[in-house]
């Protein structure tokens, strides 16, 4: 199986109306080349799932600025004023999720769990409309799993089978998103030979990865 694709081949998998997860934390660990290509392709009505909406000129923020996003499920929009502006203008729907809950909801889908039982958000607006379950005298919010049509990851080192190693703080949401989408695409900052990443140091096993884009440094 050859997972290595050129950008045009990768973009065939990106379509109007999809739900797409993007790894990254304020743009660190986000596949910028693929984001740029999505901006260029101009697909619309996307639902994006991401830690934050980055900046107007960095990370997934560029998709928001280009008005390609119908809904965003995220923990923070404060660094991209355009998201807030569109939200206030009724142009984009924003579902704000506590960061730990966001991570666990994504993991839950990938791990085949029915939901997440978390104390986070109890007594706040986050709890509104959600089921509260009492377990041994303590209350927990039932938060539902999150999945996507496509997950777009950024790997610092990716081998030709698709095993991924993430440098420093680029890991963030990438490994859990790898588990929770129908199609998983990774942009490789450095493409390496199979075997160059020791089995113990693989952070995302290759079985999760469908396609690899040789990205290079941005």
């Amino acid at each position: 199986m050859n997972k290595l694709k050129i950008l045009n081949e990768i973009m065939e998998h990106i379509k109007d109306g999809q739900t797409i997860m993007f790894g990254g934390f304020l743009g660190v660990g986000t596949a910028e080349k693929i984001v740029d290509a999505i901006v260029e392709k101009g697909v619309k009505d996307l639902t994006i799932i991401c830690n934050d909406t980055g900046f107007v000129d960095k990370g997934v923020g560029k998709l928001v600025v280009n008005k390609q996003v119908k809904k965003v499920i995220t923990s923070h929009i404060g660094t991209n004023p355009e998201t807030g502006r569109q939200m206030n203008a009724g142009e984009i729907e924003v579902e704000l999720v506590p960061q730990g809950t966001l991570a666990e909801r994504i993991r839950a889908y990938g791990a085949g769990l029915g939901g997440v039982l978390t104390p986070t958000g109890l007594g706040t607006v986050v709890a509104e409309g959600k089921q509260v379950i009492e377990i041994d005298g303590k209350n927990y919010l039932l938060e539902k799993p999150l999945k996507a049509d496509v997950a777009i990851l950024k790997g610092s080192k990716v081998d030709k089978k698709g095993n991924i190693w993430y440098s420093k703080t680029t890991r963030n949401f990438n490994p859990i998103m790898a588990m929770s989408a129908d199609v998983v695409i990774v942009e490789a900052e450095e493409l390496v030979e199979v075997g160059e990443i020791e089995p113990e140091n693989v952070a995302t096993p290759h079985i999760f990865v469908d396609y690899i884009l040789k990205g290079g440094e941005v």
Binding site: F25, G27, V28, S75, P98, A103, T120, V126, N172
Partner: protein
């Protein structure tokens, strides 16, 4: 009245005294970040950064930044020898699971029950909660570090009026005027800033304040 320019430093210095050797601490963006500058050299505090590592070190020199290494505010930082990186699920397992000894955050409002509001002002500012809700629920000790008032208006209230970050989770409030503990019986003023009177603190606080019988002067 304290010199305004010193306010942040006073707060950060006092918060820094809350930590003991080996504590795992998460410092919020802004004023809480400055706390790191005042931790006693004999006390090893391990800083956790919710974007995915422990061993947060000081800002790198110009030209030595690593594009892959930022803190939760997106600023370039360093990682100390012996640090460890992980993904967001693990980062928040650490936070929600009670493995963080203390978290320091700013506040828009905090109240007599230890309720905290620090993530949105409806119709005005809705940045999102980021990791704050998990941190406040999960950390063993929640320290609010903030200026005592905002444009003269009290921020320590009988009841928060803004949407909460978490209910009944705050343990300690440190301001430039004093140190207030949240107890089952309400707020207790434990320490007071030098040259400040109890009456001044009370006047700047909407919440009911009990004055500790052994009220101390804040060490700064």
């Amino acid at each position: 009245m304290i010199d305004k320019s010193l306010v942040r430093e006073i707060i950060a210095k006092r918060v820094a005294k809350e930590f003991k050797d080996g504590d795992v601490v998460n410092l919020g963006i802004g004023l809480p970040t400055e706390v790191a500058n005042y931790i006693d050299k004999d006390v090893e505090v391990i800083l956790q950064s919710e974007n995915g590592f422990i061993g947060l070190g000081p800002t790198p020199k110009e030209g030595e930044e690593n594009k892959d290494l930022v803190n939760a505010g997106g600023k370039f930082v360093t990682i100390l020898n012996g640090g460890a990186c992980f993904d967001s699920a693990m980062s928040f397992a650490i936070i929600r699971g009670g493995h963080v000894d203390a978290t320091v955050l700013g506040a828009l409002q905090v109240d007599e029950e230890g309720n905290l509001a620090n993530w949105m002002i409806p119709g005005k500012m809705v940045p999102g909660m980021g990791g704050a809700m998990d941190l406040v629920v999960g950390a063993k000790k929640v320290i609010v570090a903030m200026e005592h008032t905002a444009k003269g208006a009290p921020k320590i209230l009988k009841r928060c009026t803004l949407p909460l970050t978490a209910a009944k989770e705050v343990n300690l409030i440190v301001t430039e005027m004093g140190v207030i503990e949240v107890t089952p019986n309400g707020l207790v003023l434990k320490e007071i800033a030098p040259d400040t009177t109890v009456e001044e603190v009370k006047a700047a606080t909407e919440a009911e304040l009990t004055i500790s019988p052994d009220l101390k002067v804040m060490e700064i």
